[in-house]
C-alpha cells in the first residue's frame, strides 16, 4: 500500500502544540499579575506581546520548513 501526501502540515501541527502551550502560559500569567497589580498593566502587556512574539517564532520556523525545497525521494 502506498500513502502519498505531504507531511509538512502534520509537522506544523505538532510544532504548534508547544508554542500554543507557551502562549497560553504567558497570557495566563500576565492576567494573573495584572489582577494582582492593576497599575502595572501597560508595562506588563508590552512584555506579554514580546513574550508571545518570541514564543511564536518557533511555530513560524515550522511553517518555513514547508518552504524548503527538499529533493523528492
Amino acid at each position: 500500500m502506498n500513502v502519498v501526501g505531504q507531511l509538512a502540515p502534520l509537522a506544523f501541527g505538532l510544532a504548534v502544540i508547544g508554542s500554543g502551550i507557551g502562549v497560553g502560559i504567558i497570557v495566563g500569567k500576565t492576567i494573573e499579575s495584572v489582577a494582582r497589580q492593576p497599575e502595572l498593566q501597560g508595562r506588563l502587556s508590552s512584555l506579554m506581546f514580546l513574550g508571545i512574539a518570541l514564543t511564536e517564532a518557533l511555530c513560524f520556523i515550522a511553517i518555513a520548513v514547508a518552504f524548503i525545497p527538499f529533493p523528492a525521494p
Partner: protein
C-alpha cells in the same frame, strides 16, 4: 514589487505633507501624526534604550517601524491584498540592518569588550565555555536575524493564506454550490464572517508585528551596549 513602490511613495507623501508646516498648536492631522510618533518614541525607544542613547538610534528605529507598519497594512487593503513584507526579501534586508546595527552599537560603545561580553557568560566554570561559547555565538549572531526575518514574513504569509482560504471558500460556496441549488452553500455565510473577522485580526497583527520588530531591534541594541554587573 509594485505594492512596495506604491507604499514608499505614499509614506513619503504623507510625511512630507504632514510635517511640512508644523504649528505649535497642532491641527487634526498633525496631532494624529504626533500621537503615533510619540508612542513609538516613548513606548518603544525610550523605554528600552533610555533617553540619551535612544536619541542616537531613534531615526533608524522610527524608519523601521513606519516602513514595516505600512508594508504590513497593505495585506488587508482591498485591491492590494498582499503585504509588502510577505515576500522574504524586505524582511531579510531589515533584519540585516538590525543585525549590523546592534553589532555596530556594541563595538562603538565597548570596543573589543563587546565580543567578550556577548560570548562569555560571567560566573560559569571555565570548562563549560567549550559548550557555551558556540551556543551563545549561534543564538546571538545567527539565530537573531533569522528569527526576526521569519517572524515577520511568516506572520504575513500565514495571514494572507488565511484570508485567501476564507474568501475562496465563500466564493466556492455561494457561486458553485448554492448556484446549483444545494443548500449546503449557505455555509458560505459562516466562512465570509470568518474572513471579515480575520481581516480585523490581520490589521491588529500588522501593527503588532511592526511593534515587535522595532522593540526587538531596540532590545538587541540595549543588550549589546549593556554593562556587565
Amino acid at each position: 514589487m509594485l505594492i512596495r513602490i506604491l507604499v514608499v511613495v505614499l509614506i513619503l507623501v504623507v510625511f512630507w505633507l504632514g510635517t511640512r508646516n508644523l504649528k505649535i498648536i497642532p491641527g487634526r492631522g498633525q496631532s494624529a501624526l504626533e500621537w503615533i510618533f510619540g508612542f513609538v518614541r516613548q513606548n518603544i525607544i525610550f523605554d528600552t534604550l533610555g533617553e540619551q542613547r535612544g536619541r542616537r538610534y531613534e531615526p533608524i528605529l522610527m524608519t523601521m517601524f513606519f516602513l514595516i507598519l505600512s508594508m504590513n497594512i497593505t495585506g488587508v487593503i482591498p485591491g492590494l491584498q498582499l503585504a509588502g513584507t510577505a515576500r522574504i526579501g524586505l524582511p531579510i534586508i531589515l533584519a540585516i540592518v538590525s543585525w549590523i546595527m546592534f553589532m555596530y552599537a556594541g563595538m562603538r560603545e565597548k570596543g573589543g569588550k563587546f565580543w567578550k561580553d556577548s560570548l562569555f557568560l560571567p560566573g560559569v566554570p571555565w570548562p563549560l565555555y567549550f559548550l557555551l561559547v558556540p551556543l551563545e555565538f549561534f543564538s546571538t549572531f545567527i539565530l537573531r536575524p533569522i528569527t526576526l526575518t521569519l517572524r515577520l514574513t511568516m506572520n504575513m504569509i500565514a495571514g494572507h493564506m488565511l484570508l485567501v482560504l476564507c474568501f475562496t471558500a465563500t466564493h466556492f460556496f455561494f457561486f458553485t454550490v448554492l448556484a446549483s441549488g444545494n443548500l449546503i452553500g449557505l455555509l458560505g455565510i459562516g466562512s465570509f464572517a470568518f474572513g471579515v473577522a480575520f481581516t480585523v485580526l490581520e490589521l491588529f497583527v500588522a501593527a503588532l508585528q511592526a511593534y515587535v520588530f522595532t522593540i526587538l531591534s531596540a532590545i538587541y541594541i540595549q543588550l549589546a551596549v549593556a554593562e556587565e554587573h
